[in-house]
Amino acid sequence: MARVGVFVCFCGANIADFVDVPAVVEEAKRIREVKFAIHYKYMCSDPGQQQIRDAIVQHRLTSIVVAACSPRMHEKTFRKALSDAGMNPYLLEVANIREHSSWVHQKDKKAATEKAADLVRMAVAKSIANEQLHEISVPVTKRALVIGGGIAGIQAALDIADARIPVVLVEKSPSIGGKMAQLDETFPTLDCSQCILTPKMVDVASHPYIELIPYSEVIELDGFVGNYKAKIRKKASYVNFKTCTGCGACWQKCPVKVPNEYNMGLDKRKAIYTPFPQAVPNKPVIDATHCTMLLKGKCGICSKVCEKGSIDYTMKDEIIEREIGAVVVATGYDLWDPKPYEEYGVGRFKDIITSLEFERMVSANGPTNGVPVRPSDGKVPKNVVFIKCIGSRDEAKGIEYCSKICCMYTTKHTILLHHKVPGSHSYVFYMDIRAAGKGYEEFVKKAQVDTAATYLRGRVSKIYKKGDKLMVRGEDAQIGQVVEVEADMVVLATAVIPNKDNPDLARLLGVSYDKYGYMSEAHPKLRPVETAKAGIFLAGCTQAPKDIPDTVSQASACAAKVCGLFSGDTMKKDPMISTVNNEYCSGCQNCVKVCPYGAIVTEEVPMGHGSKEMRTVAKINEGVCQGCGSCVAICRSMAITLAGFTDPQIINEIVSI
């Protein structure tokens, strides 16, 4: 027979002022199974816990009920007290008589006391049906997968690898580097982007703990935290990376010219190419959509000039598998297409360009060798109009949110123009100048003085052509007048949008994403790098628009989380999960359909003892099960039990009021 101990807490005056605690104890003593009941001022204090420990031993108690605050508060504390006394911690039940009684029925002590007594009775009844449970140990594969090789993925991979944890870094394009590799200088210190990024890229390639898989995509992720299995598709590069030395003979001779993505289509690359000179790995790939050899079987020049014989036109996509324990998603961002701004003549006027195109022009390794030129006639522009918030903060045409980085990079662009084109002048149309960040406001203030740029607060309503100039008409809200600026070139600060592949990837990973396509963090403030799915973390613009310092911080935070996850050989898991009783299971598989984690599979078991006939039953993977209980309620034959919330426990609570 069960021997229950009941411990009722005063919680100072919190419970005792509104609930007659001694009366609750007397009421508890009337229950047949209760062999011991006391009250104490602070049950959670050490003397309080000592009374529990002593009573367990002295009165040979088989389960414990603590009537105090919410189990969400001190359940762990009291469970520990039980284990210290040599009792299974899951034989504890907490009756929540503070949040659910004394604090919410302060005007009616009698009713509050009755309710508290009922809550104790329910907890006693439940505890009688409690079973001994043991924490589950799940083995951990200590290898991390980083998806995306921009600055976020690079930083996360390096930080994890420096902790001597193997990393698999998967990058979609032929080289790592991402958007940061396209930048010239970075705000607010005007560091050369290439100079600070490329050493990190080389570190990734040479790090003994990093396996870099470029030109590849993750196509499948199975399993659960600590035990994922990823399928990765290596796209056919048609170049044997093992023998290729990256000499460059092939792309110099290749006759096919294709718009160069790295330079925003401002110049051409070849069909066999490396994205940019500092690419890592510095090996070319063949663009199968343009190579005439692959399309029509004519050409083959690259194969002829390659001394190493590295070109292989028969290469096929390859699927590889890696076992991993955690995933860092760092897929970065795209830029919004400004086509809906028809009144600006986007698409009609060649001299309207986007900020990233401008960035490429002013880059030393860019298509124009670092000097901005007008795409229409190749002349160097003198008067340049920068328009901010193109698509950002614009519900009508674009998106509601602020892209966060445009104010700062536009300021940087005015400085770069000032440096590169003597006698030039910048005009900036803006809604607000958002310069929150270390050294940002100072940077903007200094730039405004140094460049003497004209800042006009207001929206541009129309751009039209006058001769070879662009006339920009907008409002200067501060003087309340319409202004017109004669410009040689217009630069649009287009909005940051999530990587277009984000929703597909999020579904593949089982991570939620918001209405824009950014992946969702588990908690916007307190768990900003974790997702709701255990073991999957977010770095950089995958989660929301952010600048380089924030991206790097978040990437390092992801690395810390991954290292924490891998700190032991096994992970502890709550034992409150479901199990199937094969005797009862009819194999209907309704539970398989409702399980939100895919934790239930089927297995074949013999019909009877020693029988050769087989039948299908459900089987729950204890590593994957999170203990929601959906399967328990849907099981027609009552074959599934959820530890900690079994049918007898809950029914006992119901009938004991």
Binding site: R72, V104, N652, I657
Partner: protein, 161 residues
């Protein structure tokens, strides 16, 4: 079919049973751990007062609630049951509350068919941040059950084991 069912049902709940003047209904609240239970804790922490008739049972997810629990509650101890879970789309377990909602609609029809008044069981969404809403929900449910009067279907049996 529905009309026929509706015509027959009235019988079991006997309006002639008059509640004694000091009668207070017993309501069982089955709350999910992550949203509604946390919300009810917040109601306590914020010291928002509500009627003392509800007795709360914690379950991991509203999808754990078996219709059996509701029927058993009404059979034995409760005059009404409140089930509360996370808001649609916010389920801690991704999709549990959708299953709960569907199952609940069917259960409601079943109870209706067996002759219980459908307000005897109620469903709500209360998030972990909605302390005041929880108090309002409880007040509303308590008021509804008071109007319906005591449930004298089966004699309340004392818990024995």
């Amino acid at each position: 079919m529905e009309a026929a069912v509706n015509n027959q049902l009235v019988s079991i709940e006997k309006p002639e049973i008059v509640a004694p003047p000091d009668w207070q209904p017993v309501i069982i609240g089955i709350l999910c751990n992550w949203c509604s239970y946390a919300g009810s804790d917040l109601t306590g922490t914020s010291r928002i007062q509500y009627p003392p008739n509800i007795r709360i049972i914690r379950v991991p997810c509203s999808s754990r609630v078996d219709p059996w629990f509701l029927i058993k509650s009404l059979q034995t101890t409760a005059d009404g049951v409140l089930v509360s879970g996370c808001h649609p789309g916010d389920c801690h377990y991704i999709s549990g509350n959708y299953y709960a909602r569907r199952r609940f609609l069917v259960t409601k029809k079943l109870l209706h068919f067996t002759g219980f008044h459908e307000n005897r069981i109620q469903f709500s969404w209360v998030s972990a941040a909605e302390g005041p809403k929880f108090a309002k929900v409880v007040a509303k449910v308590t008021e509804d059950i008071k109007k319906l009067g005591p449930l004298h279907l089966y004699k309340k049996e004392n818990f024995e084991k």
